[in-house]
Amino acid sequence: MAVCIAVIAKENYPLYIRSIPAEHELKFHYTVHTSLDVVDEKVSAMGKALVDQRELYLGLLYPTEDYKVYGYVTNSKVKFVMVVDSSNTALRDNEIRSMFRKLHNSYTDVMCNPFYNPGDRIHSRAFDNMVTSMMVQVC
């Protein structure tokens, strides 16, 4: 299950971060922060190719004992980081991909809102609902 979902801006500051359960929030924030290095590494590795050829889904960034961290980068260099509980082995790669796709769609909907200034924190209720469904459903 997704225990933590974060949206990181291009400048590597968080636009949205949410985690379940709440007591490990600090730990997940730290995890997401450290995973950004891995994201950059992967992006630069692929970065030689044109952006079009670069795949958005980065895959497993790094695993730990308790959980796995997956990454996804949009074309505007906005990163989605998802921390998934390792105990849930039923999660397959394409499921993770679909979750990222949903995230991306919701994020673009948020961007479409003219009252949203890119770079602001995301307060959209629709986005929250989607993330909640993802965190609960995968649970």
């Binding site: 909907d109 961007m111 479409c112 809102n113 003219p114 009252f115 959209s124 209720r125």
Partner: protein
């Protein structure tokens, strides 16, 4: 307590009072005095009903209260004719307090008014005795909560009775409709007169301002004198639904006092309501401080809501999410003001600016957008816009925003509701206009007439032909138009369209229209028209000129060279020696001072233009072919028009420099002498001189306009600072 169970059913309640009650018209001899009483028991329940007083013993008075439900009104009435009925439970309530709707208790000393009210109440009490007030009415009018029928509750109750009798649902909102007088059994002419007299006496002949109870709050309440009585009931009406907890014991006097003091405001406010006046906010909010809803109403008014006659919403009185006809028309009008084409979109930025004026917070607006933009495309169609507007209105009225878009606000629902009545109306022409390119000139005319200052970015979809032109700046489109005699008519409108489509050229479109018309009028010129460059400069200057006028314009930012005005002007000037003044005048001068800088940016434009309009290439290569030495500032010319090319380039430079800033040094590019005749050069020089003068005038005008804007911004800033200071001490305290 037993009373509770008794209240729930129709019945009779005996009350034992320790002291005789000062019933009006007290006649101890009458055994069955019918009076209208409210009883507040120790359990704070309020029971209203008829009271039959019966003296049981000298020390004890039993009052029998009868409160029938509506269905059982008949039997009670019948029984009343025969005397006190014996149905229901009997209960002795010790310590029950009886509150009488005595005018003397709750009205400020007002001499005549009191007497009249007293009399009226007495009469009404008698009348009401024949028609017991149902419990829901008493609850709605607030008497149940406060425990007595004060003046305000009395009026409200009467209104509700009238509503119930006329078949409307007994709700607070029904009061706002124009209702006939409630009919009572014993109603006679004299009683009617008595009823109306106090009304007139109070002089409450004002129209009731909006009561922001529901979505219809911003509708005008057209009412006659009958509704004057409801004006004093504003406080209880608005308070029960919105803030029942705030209602206090004293509010009757307070409300009445407010009524009397606020009568003037009430008088003023409704009359002002017809106008889009912000100052309503002052009196209305001032006079009804505890009524936040009214303030919201005035805020709604400040949103420039149309004051249309109230339409009966009896179809959907309960649904705040349903758009009524007047609202829909208003929304459509607002949509048209932003985007004349009703079938097109309103862009996100446009809608954002518009909705921001509603003074809602950004997160709320963001949420409203989320709800209303169902296809999440960043633009609002007409149904989406209406839904968003409706949500904003509801939010301003105090309604919490829904979790999801209500069904009545869904675009497909609104679409079907909209299009049916709208097909026949004159809006159709706006649809048809945007359809065909041929109608573009007309469309442009209308667009320009409707709102010069509005961005018409969204007209681009209807003018896809011009998208390419857009990329090459409007100059190219204009250039394209110029050389093609055949396409003059269509091209000019296309140019105008592109001009209009560009955000900053909206003001320019005026001039472009004139130029287009002149373009059409001009005799067909040979394809090469080098003088078109002049139009570019003029167009740019026009933009500069009109930009300060636009509310959203940023004086500091000058647009890149917009589309050229019709070149034929220049060509005419140069070749035909026609009335240059008339031709060149519409083009804003001001190109002269800044020729030098113009050249470089123009050249890039030229490159793109070349791609699109081979005849109008203004590439730097043209400079090689430049003919006459360029001394004056003329717009860049087409390559074919060699003699004018240098002049055109100079004009380009002038335009660019004018964009960057007023630089009065026309750097003339030295060109190799062309094979053109000197006479034409002289004419060109004269034209350039004239244009320089015009440019100077335009720049002077621009300066004055900018100064004006600066002053306005200063004033706004001062006002905001004042507001901030006013707020600051409040927060500090």
């Amino acid at each position: 307590m037993q009373l509770a169970s008794d209240i729930s059913k129709t019945g009779v309640l005996w009350l034992k009072a320790r002291v005789p009650l000062p019933l009006p018209g007290d006649s101890p001899a009458s055994a069955t005095e019918r009076l209208f009483l409210c009883v507040e028991t120790s359990s704070s329940l309020c029971v209203e009903g008829l009271c039959y007083r019966r003296r049981v013993s000298p020390s004890c008075l039993l009052y029998r209260l009868v409160w029938p439900s509506i269905e059982e009104r008949a039997p009670i009435l019948d029984s009343r004719k025969n005397g006190p009925c014996s149905q229901g439970a009997y209960c002795l309530l010790e310590g029950a307090q009886l509150y009488l709707p005595s005018p003397t208790n709750y009205l400020p000393k007002g001499g005549k008014k009191n007497k009249a009210l007293e009399k009226e109440k007495h009469n009404q009490g008698k009348q009401i005795s024949t028609l017991t007030v149902p419990e829901n009415i008493t609850e709605l009018c607030g008497a149940k909560r406060v425990g007595y029928f004060g003046l305000t509750q009395f009026y409200v109750a009467l209104k509700l009775i009238a509503a119930a009798q006329s078949g409307l649902p007994v709700r607070v909102e029904s009061i706002k409709c124009e209702l006939p007088l409630p009919r009572f059994m014993a109603l006679k002419n004299d009683s009617e007169i008595r009823y109306s007299n106090p009304v007139e006496f109070h002089g409450m002949k004002c129209q009731i301002p909006y009561v922001t109870m529901e979505k219809n709050s911003f509708k005008r309440v057209d009412d006659g004198e009958k509704q004057d009585t409801m004006s004093p009931t504003m406080s209880p009406i608005s308070s029960p639904p919105s803030s029942p907890s705030n209602y206090q014991r004293v509010p009757l006097t307070y409300g009445y006092g407010k009524l009397r003091s606020g009568m003037d405001q009430i008088h003023a406010a409704p009359y002002e309501a017809r106008q889009l006046a912000l100052q309503q906010e002052g009196p209305t909010s001032g006079s009804h401080g505890p009524k936040p809803t009214r303030r919201q109403t005035s805020l709604i008014r400040s949103l420039s809501v149309d004051r249309e006659p109230q339409e009966s919403n009896s179809n959907y009185p309960d649904d705040p999410w349903r758009i009524t006809e007047e609202q829909r028309e208003y929304y459509i009008n607002q949509f048209k003001s932003l985007q004349p084409d009703l079938s097109s979109f309103i862009s996100g930025s446009l809608a954002k600016n518009f909705f921001t004026k509603s003074k809602l917070t950004i997160p709320e607006l963001s949420y409203i957008w989320e709800l209303s933009d169902v296809d999440c495309d960043g633009a609002l169609t007409l149904p989406e816009f209406c839904a968003a507007f409706h949500l904003i209105v509801a939010r301003k009225n105090g309604y919490p925003l829904p979790e999801s878009l209500p069904q009545t606000l869904q675009p497909d629902y609104l679409q079907s509701a909209f299009l049916k009545p709208k097909r026949d109306c004159a809006l159709f022409d706006s649809y048809s206009e945007s359809m065909s390119v041929n109608q573009q000139p007309r469309d442009l005319n209308r667009i320009e007439k409707t709102s010069i200052k509005e961005k018409v970015d969204l007209t681009a979809p209807a003018q896809d032909v011009n998208i390419d032109d857009k990329q090459a700046l409007k100059i190219s489109s204009v250039d394209e138009a110029m050389p093609k005699d055949v396409c003059v008519d269509t091209a000019s409108p296309k140019d105008l369209n592109t001009l209009k489509a560009r955000p900053r050229s909206r003001s320019y479109s005026n001039t472009s229209l004139e130029e287009a018309m002149k373009r059409v009028e001009e005799p067909p010129t040979p394809p090469p028209r080098p003088q078109k460059s002049h139009s570019r400069a003029s167009s740019l200057d026009l933009n500069k000129v009109f930009q300060p006028n636009a509310p959203a314009a940023k004086p500091g930012l000058l647009p890149p060279p917009p589309a050229l005005p019709p070149r034929p002007f220049v060509s005419q000037v140069l070749h035909h020696n026609t009335s240059n003044d008339s031709v060149s005048q519409p083009k804003p001068p001001g190109q002269l001072p800044s020729y030098g800088d113009f050249r470089l940016p123009e050249q890039t434009d030229q490159v793109s233009e070349i791609e699109l309009h081979p005849q109008l290439t203004r590439t730097p290569s043209q400079t090689e072919e430049s003919g006459s030495p360029v001394k004056k500032d003329l717009p860049p010319s087409k390559p074919i028009r060699r003699k004018l090319r240098p002049e055109n380039q100079i004009m380009e430079n002038q335009e660019h420099s004018s964009v960057s800033g007023p630089s009065t040094v026309p750097t003339v590019k030295p060109h190799a002498p062309v094979q053109k005749q000197s006479s034409k050069q002289k004419k060109a020089i004269q034209t350039a001189i004239r244009k320089n003068k015009e440019a100077n005038a335009v720049l002077a005008r621009l300066n004055s306009e900018l100064q004006q804007q600066l002053k306005e911004v200063h004033q706004e800033r001062i006002a905001l600072e004042n507001q901030l200071e006013q707020l600051r001490p409040v927060t500090v305290l």
